[in-house]
Symmetry: C2
Amino acid sequence: MRCRRCAPVPEEVRRAAGLLERRFAVSILWASHEGATRFNEFQQALGSVPPATLAARLVELEHAGILERRVVDARPPRVEYSLTERGLQLQPLLAALVRFSQYG
Amino acid sequence: MRCRRCAPVPEEVRRAAGLLERRFAVSILWASHEGATRFNEFQQALGSVPPATLAARLVELEHAGILERRVVDARPPRVEYSLTERGLQLQPLLAALVRFSQYG
DNA sequence: GTAGCAACTACAACTGTTGTAGCGCACGGG
DNA sequence: CCCGTGCGCTACAACAGTTGTAGTTGCTAC
């Protein structure tokens, strides 16, 4: 009972993990790390992602306060997604992921 | 081509992301960070996790070389899961996740 | 007018996840 | 011997998430 290993995973860690534990979420964040990104730029960056899934994930990340959706009034009008200030705080996590993935 | 944002997410990043993008994967890693953990310790740490999902995730992480399964010949015999050397390399990522989750 | 692009939405098929139940093995007590 | 308990799962049907393909809307350019 009082063994540390049984201690519940803290609520805030669960919430953050819950965001990443969805299909393409991490890759979307990676693709965003260089600046504002468009819907079909995501499609190219992620390879074959079903548009419905991409749209759903973008909405989720927006509602979570991590991505910001902006309509650019140009011709043709386009939509850009960029990391919020909160989203930028994920950079260390992404950097750690890259270091992990490169070692193996 | 030519725009950096369209550059595909590198294959190794996708593979690492693919591991984390599954239900409870991150929480399982978090729960493992203090040492060998048993099946029902995970159940307590994660709250209400369906045993089928937990079992599936443990097998996946084992096959990915991140967790190691060891049967301890005691009474009653028990099974312990611990991070491999490879799995320990995820610690910076988990630390970054914790820092992220604590700020907001 | 017809062809193209951008950013999606619609929908049915498929895969993953959930809750609940139960199994096999080893004790330990009565 | 039989019953109950703890452990580490497995079985299965209902449900939620994901997939591929197709189509829509609103524009502009040829």
